[in-house]
Every structure is written in structure tokens, then in C-alpha cells.
Amino acid sequence: MYTQALNTSDGDNSHIEDAARSANFQARIDADERIEPNDWMPAAYRKTLTRQISQHAHSEIVGMLPEGNWITRAPSLRRKAALLAKVQDECGHGLYLYAAAETLGTSREELVDLMLAGKSRYSSIFNYPTLTWADIGAIGWLVDGAAIMNQIPLCRCSYGPYARAMIRVCKEESFHQRQGFEIMVMLSKGTEEQKAMAQSALDRWWWPVLMMFGPPDKASQHSDTSTKWKIKRFSNDELRQKFVDATVPQAQFLGLTIPDPGMKQNANGNWEYSAIDWEEFNQVLAGNGPCNRDRLAARRKAHDDGAWVREAATAYAEKRKQRQHAQAAE
């Protein structure tokens, strides 16, 4: 309700920021108050959140592609129904997030157009291919597992609409991770060939999943202000470590080997992992991952192919409105 009805002038002239308002804003954040769409906020807070929430939304939508790839080839009706429901959830998550982003004053259409033009990013993880059915298991287990680690603290983010969207998303996400892990359990208890398929999926997804948490703390460019504004409650490295510590015992249960021979448990019980290849991460972000071009091409095609539906629905609504006006005038 905030995008169209209200909030038209706020934000445009907010580069001239009044120190008193900034101090008051920070005091509200420090007091753990939630910021709502029509509250005054620094232009940089608005910009950071618009970027983060819209990229999060794009990730949900683009994330439908690697999994959608296996819907028609799921090995049973049970798996197919679950995967279909999961992909539908991802779409829902994208829409909650676009709605949250819009409350900051940029319309969903503009945000989507930026993504389609390659000017707004989505999570690097979705630029990797799903080569076998085991990849669907690995995505649920690892990618959704990592996403949950990231998203649970966002339920307490200082921006109200984002926090509320994340609460809904987190409730639904837990089914995603469990269905993925169940696939991994079945495969790892199966034939040698199935077990090898599960191992290969873990080998290919492990490192890209660790990269999902973003650059190491010493190199992250957004962390400081995001922490000050309570958009971010834990650092990239803290969340990554939490994820690794939670996942190692699960891999052991499956009897699969994490593709990091140097990994060892330290005295605190934390699993220390080897150096991450950040050059690969940078290359994928720069558009040179295995599937970047395919993903964008698929989104553009879907957007263009759906244009007639949007146009027809709008034209029909307009026609009905005209007819109602004419009847009222009679």
C-alpha cells in the first residue's frame, strides 16, 4: 500500500540529510524498534535495503530455474509433487520480497526490468547447473540449508516489511531442506551408482554453497553500515562457520565425503575449512559462471512470452471499468 498511495516525495530530496533526524533514526535502531515504510530513513538505508531485498527476490525467482529443470524427470510422483510445491514456494517467496522492496518506493516492474537488463544481481549459486537428480537433493540440503542460516537472523532485521516477509519465508523453507535431505538419504543408501551420484552432487555444490555467504569479513564492502543499521546481525564468516558446523555431521550421517581434505575440527568443536577460491566467486558474479547467460535468457523469454497475458488482463480490466462507468451514467 505504500508504493502508490503514499511516499511520493520522501527520498527524492533526502540527500540533504538532517543530522537530528539521522541521530533519531539511529537511536530507534539501537532501541530495537522496527522501521516502517513511511518513517523517515536515511537515503543510504533505503538504497541498501532496496538493493538487498530486490536481489533476494530475484534470487528466489531465478532459483526456480535449476530446480524446474527436473520437475518433468522426477523419479516418482511423490518426488514430483514435492518438487513442484517447492518451486511454487520459491515463486511465492520472490513475490513477498518484491512486495517488501516496493514499500521502499521502487516498483516491482522497475526492479524486474533492472534484473532482466543485467543491472541487478541474484545469488551466484543459481548460475550452476543441475546435472543429475542428486543435484535436486543437494540443492535442498545445502543451498536451502545455507539460505536458512542467512534468513533466520533477517526475521529480526530492522526494516519491518522485510522482517515480516522473512518470517513467512523461513516457515516454508524448512520443508525445502528436509525434502532435499531425504533425497540424499535415499541415494546414499541406494546402489553404488546412486551413492556416487550423491557424492558427485556434494562435490560440485559444496564450494559454491560456502560462497553463498558472501566475501570474507575483511573484504565485505556492505557489512559495517548494515550491522550498524541492524539489517545484518551476523557477519558472513560467522554464518558460514555455523553452516559448516551444522552440515559436517549430516554429511557423515550420509556416509558422504566433503570435498575438502584439509578440513579438521578444532578444540572449540568448530570445523575449519580450507581457503575458498574467491576468484571463482568473482567470475560467477561478473557473469562468467556456467549458466549465467542461460538463466538471464530464460527469465527474459518468460517475461516476453508473458507480456500478452499482462496486456490482455489489463485491457480486460479497463474494458470492464469503462462498461461500469457507462452503465452508471445511464
Partner: protein, 95 residues
């Protein structure tokens, strides 16, 4: 390639018999029929509702949060509107 803006709707759901409709979020749709269908698909995938209202966002008039002090002042200063303002003798017991 800019896409024209679709109208925005606010979605309210009654989750159980006897409860009020509660705001759950918003969505874009061309008309009321499509807005109701989209609300069902986006906000009730796990049986969250018995009934849905969709309301055009621009039909909502909102108070200005920056003027909440003035807006709600009349309620702030009238402590005699609360039951705890009144003394009831102990002998009377619960009232």
C-alpha cells in the same frame, strides 16, 4: 521494455472461524478476480485461510506516523479510561 504498472492490492485473510481478517501482504493484479486468485496462490498455499479480502491499495487512507504524537495524544492523557484508575476496597474482592 518498461512494463506498465499493474494495480496494487492489499490482502486480508481470515485464518479461522471467529477471527477477524488480518493484513498479510500485498500483490499486483489487473482486476478483482485475478487479485483474489493471486492472493489464494501467494498467501494460502498451506491452508492459512477461510476467507480472503482484497482491497485496492490506493483506496486506503492512512494516518501519518510522523504525527502519531498529536494523533494519539487524546488517548495518552486519559488514564481514567482504564479500570486500574479506580480503587475497589479489598473486601469487595474481584470486580
Amino acid at each position: 521494455m518498461a512494463t506498465p504498472n499493474m494495480p496494487l492490492w492489499e490482502v486480508f485473510i481470515r485464518s479461522r472461524n471467529g477471527l477477524a481478517h488480518k493484513h498479510v501482504g500485498s500483490l499486483h493484479a489487473a482486476d478483482t478476480t485475478l487479485a483474489l486468485q493471486a492472493a489464494r496462490d501467494i498467501y494460502t498455499r498451506r491452508g492459512e485461510g477461510l476467507s480472503i479480502w482484497v482491497v485496492p491499495s490506493n483506496a486506503i487512507t492512512a494516518s501519518d506516523p510522523s504525527e502519531k504524537g498529536m494523533m494519539f495524544e487524546p488517548a495518552e492523557s486519559k488514564i481514567y479510561r482504564h479500570p486500574t484508575f479506580y480503587d475497589v476496597p479489598d473486601e469487595v474482592g474481584h470486580m
